[in-house]
Symmetry: C2
Subunit: 264 residues, 2 copies
């Protein structure tokens, strides 16, 4: 908090811009959220919003909501918005938000479907996975320390607001899986194993998704209890090679869809 801070000083502008970088997000435990849907979703969540910067047009619509919730805000011009945005096209609103400390409840491990991401590198993929988890009612995603930061501007944008509803927790994935293995079944997506279409899938479990190029890392593979694969229907081997894999968020989507379909 910057008490009495209502105008955007040079220092404040460079502070906001610095939060594009993980180093500064970690140091200050804050991140930037942009765009109306995302900011409104965060406002209605347990996230603590430190400050909102918005174009007048947006404040006319949502100013009362901010006052009701005691969120400090400053009107800014388009020119300032262009300077502070981390996106190629700025939105009507930008929020500086505290990074929450999230811990994992053991009851969630025992009773819910959880995703575990082993070294997802692309922010767009991570954001898309958070978004689809939300759609499928998955409230917890565990990430290896090598997985891209969810508060990366591109990742958070790709969640389309779902980051407000899905807990993304970073840590030592292998250590977690060792501890979790007696509490829940550990599934993983591979290019071989049981066909996901006919596999008997429980309504709770831990589903491990691997890296874009290399899949699930060797030391995590050893902890997988059930290997699942998505069958390919590719045409007979003929012209022009063959597809080697699916995009990681696409594979995650199909796997989540299969888990959920069985609940109906």
């Amino acid at each position: 908090m910057f008490p009495g801070f209502f105008m955007l000083s040079k220092n404040r502008i460079s502070y906001i811009r610095s939060l594009k970088m993980k180093k500064y997000r970690e140091r200050h435990r804050q991140f930037v959220a942009e765009g109306s849907k995302l900011v409104i979703d965060l406002l209605q969540s347990r996230y603590i919003i430190n400050w909102i910067y918005a174009i007048d047009e947006w404040l006319e619509k949502y100013g009362t909501l901010l006052e009701m919730k005691h969120i400090p805000f400053s009107p800014v011009t388009e020119t300032i918005m262009e300077r502070i945005t981390a996106l190629s096209t700025h939105g009507l609103v930008l929020a500086v938000v505290d990074i929450p400390d999230i811990s994992l409840d053991i009851a969630i491990v025992e009773n819910e479907l959880i995703l575990a991401l082993d070294d997802i590198r692309d922010p767009g993929n991570l954001g898309t996975i958070v978004r689809l988890a939300d759609w499928f009612g998955i409230g917890t995603i565990l990430c290896s320390g090598t997985t891209v930061d969810i508060y990366n501007p591109k990742a958070i944008q790709a969640t389309m607001g779902s980051v407000a509803r899905v807990d993304v927790i970073y840590g030592n994935l292998a250590a977690f899986l060792v501890n979790a293995s007696s509490l829940s079944t550990i599934y993983g997506t591979f290019l071989e194993g049981e066909s996901i279409y006919s596999a008997d899938l429980e309504s709770h479990g831990i589903l491990v998704i691997g890296n874009e190029s290399n899949g699930i890392s060797e030391h995590v593979q050893k902890l997988i209890q059930r290997k699942l694969f998505i069958p390919s229907f590719q045409k007979e081997q003929g012209q022009g090679g063959h597809p080697e894999s699916l995009n990681v968020s696409v594979a995650a989507a199909i796997a989540c869809s299969e888990f959920r379909r069985r609940k109906i």
Copy 2:
């Protein structure tokens, strides 16, 4: 073709660079493909490769294949590669390839599952959809004229070589659907309709996928015979809003998976 052309002149470099832009791809009916997997897949397909530029390391491995197939090539330095690449990190090989004239066989409309894309704007989404179509053995994708060009560098990269095996055809989608409606069932993905999990899906048909923000356009909607939706399993309405939709390539993936699962 540039007979006798073996060195990279300034003109040739700017020609290759110009192919990043749709205007020049359309004018010259050529595009650029980068990276070993994509180029090898194209080499084995019906695409006609005009010229290959590669780092020595790549030519040592594949030079004989190029000679066998009578493909002209030039060794280039890393510096030149950096100048001609359309990507943020260049690969070992770059090919200039002719854009093929692809027409649609009526037997395909009658007997196969086809995707129809109505105004997909993001090149990454388009490439990802081509890649997953390939995985699910879908050989034809029809695109509205407003859909992003598949030969856009980002789109082609996201196909991971699948562009060599999937025909992507642009045209007037509504006019096509009017003609096709007596030959095949026209399905579309919506946020309402029949649940895709329990719907009776044929092994052939036309599946329409809409724009990232606006879904299927009004005039195309009127031509859809069966509306499908992917059920959401979101938690009870509580904190932090709710997810409005799935990413378009994720929705396409789940829909294709559902069509193919029924074939097993």
